[in-house]
């Protein structure tokens, strides 16, 4: 007995343990599934956050901080005397050293870290003559040292990085002698100098009198040399001048005029324009020398470039494209970045503003320090600003400005780009040259997206809704059963296939048979509708077999006849109405150019892709209209069409609306079809005969070339986010409407 009781107890215990285990498993499963489910749902929303998170740094403001002021004046001359104030300032790409040109002709290198002196190079060719002016070119580190007797020593600073185990350890600096030139044969002292080299041509400009700039152009390899004197009109004083690419020289005067010369073999004055009522105090060319940035004594800043304002104008004119927020005090220095279109402006009170040329944005501002800046420069990597003050000190500021060219206005507003006659919406992310001005307007892309979607919907919506109406209301059940899988297969066709057929087959056919294709839009429905005439005249035996709802058996052959007729009659039509050349007529009468890959093709192809979606949802909502409504209507004597139009359509209209919305969402994001069926040119033009570039195609085209983390990369993520928002929003509305409709049907 005892053993039996024990067995029972054991069994009960075992069962209890098993139940416990099962319950434990159940609890664990509950937790796992709940956690897993929540995790998946959360990670799905994470997609959205991540995409916008990648785009967010675009809008993060740039920031900067003053690092300190270095009293580099501590350098003494060979004779133990103070060497005087520096005349020019430069730095290397890695900001390891900065160098100054001193009045005794020495180039002294300092460690940027602590301001201690590292090395120095004497300008041997000057042999101790006093240097009165100096300059350093933006590109190439060409340094000029000009003397009180009209001579200029030309040098180039070269920096070679030295790596150890892939880490930069030091720079080797070298100062190369580029020659000593006599820019002014009359030996007047040089007040200001500029020097640059381009394709082995040396160009030196030196102000030797109030109203005279002496220019020397020489090519030591070929032994060519030419001197010119540039003078202002009426003796007005030059207050600033700068050399640009392609042998141009811009000079500003005390009366607020700007002279623009082209220094070929013979100097030619291209422009003389009044740019300000105040004296011009600072001038700088933008990278690529297209734009000229002008600062005046009142602190106003503007940018100018040369452009043909009208197509038939023979000469370019110098126009003001940008105005910038002023600084209140005279602008004393403008430093241009060598990698993009940011520049820094220094005012007489020591205040600094980092700006972007194209977007007119003031990126970072630093308050006045009281020091009087003479020169401001942006380091080659645009990560710091160096300011040479009048007292010989150098102030250094660190800036982080990863996406200077982006602002809301640059993305969505009209922007005045270099070489354009007026502000425009342009998308052009990359160019052939380094000094290319990126054009990041999303407007043409959004426009292209809407345009493509519009034409696709124009084609798809009527067809899909009418087909759905026919299938659900008029077609015989046996036809309906066959039609639905066909449409489902149509929905499953990969868009790359549709795009391929559209781009390689349809586009060329449409181009060859444009008029017949356009005629088809009228002939096919007309022929199908004309079936109503045939219906009554069908042979009796056949008609007996075709019950109402079998119209399709007549319509399809009739439609084929319609298509055939369009193809046959098209050329005749073209000959009669458009002189045999419709494309020529479109060009001459409407001023439209016909592209082979155009919106018509996209509309047809994308419409094809969208039709099944709209069809399926519309058919669903038509079919689920309660049958007692239609029965009542028919019983009251309304015809099938009247019932469909007055009862079914209004009742199902929210469903139709959501079907259209979902179709819209699909068309907006469609990539492969647009990529292949359009030329992908971002144009702002509604014409059905040319292409477009959509947001989605733009992402596919550009992202392989966009470096990770760069501006273009982030803008493309922004475009992706915009697409996501658009479709998600549209779909959600459609879904909500559909759910409400379902409830309404329940109530009926």
């Amino acid at each position: 007995m005892a053993s039996a009781a024990a067995t029972i107890r054991e069994r009960v215990m075992a069962a209890g343990a098993r139940i416990k285990r099962v319950k434990r498993v159940d609890r664990a499963a509950t937790y796992t599934i709940t956690l897993g489910g929540i995790f998946i749902v959360v990670s799905v929303s994470f997609i959205f956050l991540f995409i916008f998170g990648q785009a967010l740094p675009l809008f993060r403001p740039a920031h900067g901080r003053a690092v300190g002021v270095m009293p580099l004046m501590g350098v003494t001359g060979a004779d133990g005397m103070a060497a005087g104030r520096p005349l020019a300032l430069g730095t290397d790409e890695y900001q390891m050293y900065l160098y100054e040109l001193l009045p005794d002709g020495r180039l002294v290198f300092f460690k940027t870290q602590d301001g201690s002196k590292a090395k120095e190079f004497a300008t041997t060719s000057l042999a101790g003559a006093a240097v009165t002016a100096g300059s350093r070119s933006l590109i190439g580190d060409y340094v000029a040292a000009a003397t009180g007797d009209g001579r200029v020593a030309l040098q180039q600073v070269r920096v070679l990085p030295r790596y150890e185990e892939q880490r930069l350890v030091d720079l080797e600096t070298e100062v190369r002698d580029r020659g000593l030139v006599e820019v002014d044969p009359t030996h007047r002292p040089v007040r200001a100098v500029r020097y640059q080299e381009e394709e082995s041509w040396q160009l030196v400009a030196a102000q030797v009198a109030d109203d005279e700039i002496a220019v020397l152009r020489r090519n030591p390899d070929e032994g060519a040399e030419a001197r010119h004197a540039l003078r202002s009109n009426g003796g007005e004083r030059f207050t600033a001048f700068e050399l640009g690419r392609a042998d141009t020289l811009a000079a500003g005067t005390e009366k607020g005029n700007v002279y623009l010369w082209e220094l070929g073999d013979e100097p030619r004055l291209l422009h003389l324009s009044a740019v300000s009522s105040q004296p011009v105090t600072a001038l700088q060319y933008s990278i690529g020398s297209h734009s000229l940035i002008v600062g005046d004594a009142a602190g106003a800043l503007s940018a100018w470039f040369r452009v043909r304002t009208k197509d038939d104008e023979p000469e370019l004119s110098l126009i003001k494209a940008h105005d910038y927020d002023g600084q209140g005090q005279a602008i004393t220095g403008i430093g241009q970045s060598t990698r993009d279109r940011t520049f820094v402006t220094a005012a007489a009170d020591g205040s600094l503003v980092l700006r972007h040329l194209t977007s007119e944005r003031s990126v970072v501002s630093f308050p006045a320090t009281g020091a009087r800046p003479q020169e401001a420069l942006l380091t080659p990597r645009s990560d710091a600003i160096l300011v040479r003050n009048e007292d010989g000190t150098v102030a250094r500021y660190e800036v982080t400005n990863p996406h200077p060219e982006v602002s809301w206005r640059a993305l969505f507003g009209k922007v005045w780009y270099e070489g354009y006659a007026q502000p425009e919406y342009v998308w052009q992310s990359t160019g052939a040259t380094d000094d290319f001005e990126s054009k990041f307007s999303l407007v043409p892309l959004v426009f292209g997206t809407i345009k493509g979607t519009f034409y696709a919907m124009l084609f798809a919506v009527p067809i899909a809704i009418m087909a759905a109406l026919y299938t659900s209301q008029f077609a015989h059940p046996s036809i309906r059963q066959r039609v639905k899988p066909v449409v489902e297969i149509m929905a499953a066709l990969p868009s790359v296939v549709v795009g391929f057929i559209a781009g390689l087959w349809l586009a060329s056919r449409v181009e060859q048979q444009l008029v017949p294709v356009l005629l088809m839009f009228a002939f096919l429905p007309a022929a199908g509708t004309a079936g109503v005439l045939v219906w009554d005249r069908l042979p009796h035996g056949l008609r007996k077999r075709l019950r109402p709802g079998m119209e399709l058996a007549v319509i399809v052959p009739m439609a084929v006849v319609g298509v055939w007729l369009a193809l046959k009659l098209g050329p005749g039509f073209e000959g009669a109405l458009f002189g045999g050349d419709f494309k020529g007529w479109v060009h001459s009468a409407l001023g439209l150019v016909y592209d082979q890959r155009n919106s018509l093709v996209v509309g047809l192809a994308m419409g094809f892709a969208v039709i099944p979606i709209i069809f399926t949802i519309s058919e669903d909502s038509f079919s689920s209209v309660p049958s007692h409504l239609t029965a009542a209507s028919l019983a009251l004597g309304a015809s099938r069409w009247q019932t469909a139009l007055r009862v079914v359509l209004p009742t199902a209209s929210p469903g139709i609306f959501s079907a259209v919305m979902i179709g819209f969402g699909r068309a907006v994001g469609e990539t492969m079809i647009v990529l292949k069926a359009t030329g992908n040119t971002p144009v702002l033009d509604w014409s059905v005969f040319n292409g477009m570039r959509t947001l989605s195609a733009n992402i596919a085209v550009e992202i392989p070339e966009a470096p990770h983390g760069g501006t273009l990369y982030r803008i493309l993520f922004l475009a992706g986010g915009v697409l996501f928002l658009m479709t998600f929003f549209v779909n959600t509305i459609a879904e909500l409407i559909r759910q409400r409709l379902r409830e309404r049907y329940k109530a009926l």
Partner: protein, 546 residues
Amino acid sequence: MSLRKAIQRGDHLIWLTGSALAACILMIVGLIVVILVNGLGFFWPAPLVKLTLKDGGVFLGELVTREPIPNPGQPDHLKRHRLQLKVGNRDLLGYDFKWIDEADVVAREQPAGVFTVERREYGPLLGTPVLLKQGDRELAQGPEAIRSALPALLDRAARDRAAIEHIEKEEIGDINYRIERARLDLRKIEFRARREPGRDLSAERAEVERQVAAAQKQYEAKQAELARLMEQAATTFVTFKAADGTDKELRTLDVYRAYPANELGWFQRAGIYAGRLWTFVAEDPRESNTEGGIFPAIFGTVMMVIIMSIMVVPLGVLAALYLREYAKQGPLVRIVRIAVNNLAGVPSIVFGVFGLGFFVYFVGGGIDRVFFPESLPTPTYGTGGILWASLTLALLTVPVVIVASEEALAAVPRSMREASLAMGATKFQTILRVVLPAAAPGILTGLILAMARGAGEVAPLMLTGVVKLAPELPLDGFFPFFHLDRKFMHLGFHIYDVGFQSPNVEAAKPMVYTTTIFLLMIVVALNFTAIVVRNRLRRKYQTSAF
């Protein structure tokens, strides 16, 4: 019944709506017909036509199309016709296709003895064989003799090619792989040496260096063997005379297939058709994808879809189980459901962007920094690859699986659950043993639909790892066999790339149509299976309702 009455009742408008449906049907039928007509004819060995023109020019080729010549505004607009001839011989002529005005043709014949030759480079060669020789020794002369001697030589060439390819790809590939591994090992040792400066790693270094040296030696031996084999194989030459009289000498090693195009019976033609189709399915592409086969693309597509399915099923089912069985039904879950539903409508390119930013750069970049620092800056996982592409597609298709699974779970009759629970089963046991098996066909439908969608998507793949030509498959004989970091080829991208980026679109077009047929077959078959499974499922529930 009079027409007026019919119009009064609006019957003609019914016919108008019917026309819309007819237009849909015509479009889909038209599309499929276009693809089939263009794609299926590609492998058919068409007869060669010789055209003599007014100006004395002679062209031999396959007739591709005949179309009216547009000349807008002129009376002969679309009245005259031109012929497109595929003339081949790109190395001799500089083009593959030639448009010829029908009015210029004075003689048209199908000459006997002309061959279509498929060769390694420059597309097909069309011409009459004139000379066959081994080294300097003549083997055969004249079309008849060559025709009987050629097949044996081509068989040998095929065997030689296979042997050469084996050495190049398998054996030398293996050695290269080992050298590359050893190189990475060396860098790893250097990394360790930097981390642990005190340790003596010279023994390990020497070992790896010894391996490299050994592999290098093997490599040289194999190279020598390869050179010898090449020399032996490349001794027979066959010369063809093109239509314009130029001679072209080919190594038989470079000839893949040659047939007398105008002297074939139907049966032989069918045999060549089947052979070419097989080549297309089973071989690697050649000549920047315009010739050869699409095997890597088929393989890549299938493998990607399989990896995607492995990812997407647990994720989708788990989320559906949570939403349907565990979550408290309320407005929040309703919102989540709508959101998930709508995710299916988000453009695929957006998922591609996400995959690039998150999987490739963020996750992949992180993996590289932690696990593969020795190969940096060359990325291992920090660049597109089949794993990232599959994951991106899994995300893209997970809403489909969630929605389908939820519907399937909801369709399981309440009575079945209640019976299970009443017998004392826990919730999890009920789900595992009763609900999930009953819902399995529905979930399967969702999975198949997801696979169909995944197989046809291209846009997200373009950002996450698909390439036009992947030298290595993501699955091979080298450890660890699955190379999920590798880039891969895909049928859809192949269509896009060859059809639009190819240097010789006209010649590649038929191949693209054929590729399209394969992609469509995969997608339509998957969809069709889904429809069948769903219909079965419906019937099953109809009978099981009690």
